[in-house]
């Protein structure tokens, strides 16, 4: 028997998931730092996971969890890659700045 209670649980879980996706989208559009963008992507990811899990729970199978796990691994991999590239870029920028400062300092002394 499928109770109306399950319908309400599905609807409310999807509502919470939709709110999480929207809050993450607001964070992506309004905050421009890379750190905040990554955290906003995490919020969107949590909303999608909640929606998929509730759909799977409602249908009585584990397909929602399977799709959620696959998406989770892909998104986390992409985020970790972005984080690594970002830290490497900032290190390169810092080392370039040191080189430029090292070049300019003797000129200042000479002048």
């Amino acid at each position: 028997m499928l109770a109306v209670h399950d319908h309400q649980l599905l609807a409310n879980s999807l509502t919470v998931g939709a709110l999480l996706v929207s809050i993450g989208a607001v964070g992506l559009a309004s905050r421009r730092g890379a750190a905040f963008a990554l955290l906003s992507v995490t919020i969107v990811l949590q909303g999608v996971l909640l929606s998929l899990a509730s759909l799977g729970f409602f249908h009585g199978n584990s397909s929602g969890q399977t799709v959620g796990l696959f998406g989770l691994v892909v998104v986390i991999f992409v985020c970790a890659l972005a984080l690594t590239m970002r830290s490497r870029t900032s290190r390169l920028k810092a080392s370039n700045t040191d080189v430029v400062q090292g070049i300019s300092e003797p000129e200042e002394r000479h002048g």
């Binding site: 609807a11 999480l20 559009a29 990811l45």
Partner: protein, 258 residues
């Protein structure tokens, strides 16, 4: 639109029989109930969106940010009341409602906090409380994986990288780099579209009338198949709308920047 849909549904049900005025009035009452339900939800979302806008970090005056926090609290109260009214007051529902409010509050904390450290704390709180919701729906493996992977692969490296705070502050301090009002309006519209699409099943139940508390087993397979088709099409439409909204907001923000 909802009224027309409900009225047409009842007229369609009256095909083959003599049209009775009571059918139209009953449809009108149910449609008005549905419409007021949607208006209340839209009002709650609007109040929450305004609170989110006022609570964003470039409003430096404390009175503005506290007003935003108050509006967010009001919207959360409205959402919790809606959840409890629709599902009852047994312990499962109370736990679900409380955890859902913590999840949304943590997401708002993550988006609106001025420093990366506080945003990361909000993100950890969000992951843990969302894991409780997933655990309630028999998704324990997904809950554990979500907590371990989100916290381990995103939040901890973010906190451990030393230059994060300076970069985030430098990016957020440029006034032309963001368009918070547009982002909040887009977010409220996106939430409304998502919730309306996801609750389409629920409103169709409301229009057709909840005569009994349960659905028989013979109707269950057809209902699940129909629901899967509705959910799949809604997900496609919602995904497209979300992509267009985010791309549009980003494009307009970049135009402001240039």
């Amino acid at each position: 639109m909802t009224f027309v849909r409900g009225w047409l549904s009842y007229v369609g049900r009256a095909e083959g029989v003599t049209f009775r005025w009571s059918i139209a009035t009953n449809g009108f009452a149910l449609a008005m109930d549905d419409m007021s339900h949607g208006l209340l939800l839209a009002l709650t979302l609007g109040i929450g969106g305004l609170g989110l806008y006022l609570n964003l970090p470039w409003h430096s005056r404390p009175i503005v940010r506290w007003s935003g926090a108050g509006l967010i609290g009001l919207a959360l109260y409205g959402l919790a009341r809606r959840l409890v009214l629709s599902m009852g007051t047994d312990p499962f529902v109370v736990t679900f409602t409380g955890t859902a409010c913590v999840v949304i509050a943590a997401a708002l904390l993550t988006v609106t906090s001025p420093t990366v450290k506080h945003a990361a704390i909000g993100c950890v709180l969000l992951a843990v409380s969302n894991a409780v919701l997933l655990f309630q729906q028999n998704a324990a493996v997904l809950a554990a994986a979500a907590v371990v992977l989100s916290v381990g692969a995103i939040v901890l490296p973010l906190l451990l990288s030393s230059d994060t705070e300076a970069n985030a502050k430098a990016n957020d301090d440029k006034p032309s780099m963001h368009e918070p009002g547009l982002a909040c309006v887009t977010g409220v519209l996106l939430a409304g579209v998502l919730i309306a699409s996801f609750n389409r099943i629920d409103s169709s139940d409301l229009v057709s009338g909840k005569a009994s508390e349960t659905v028989s087993v013979t109707q269950q397979s057809g209902l699940v198949q129909n629901e899967f088709e509705v959910s799949a099409s809604a997900l496609w439409i919602v995904g497209l709308l979300a992509f267009v909204s985010i791309a549009g907001a980003t494009a307009v923000s970049r135009r402001v920047e240039s």
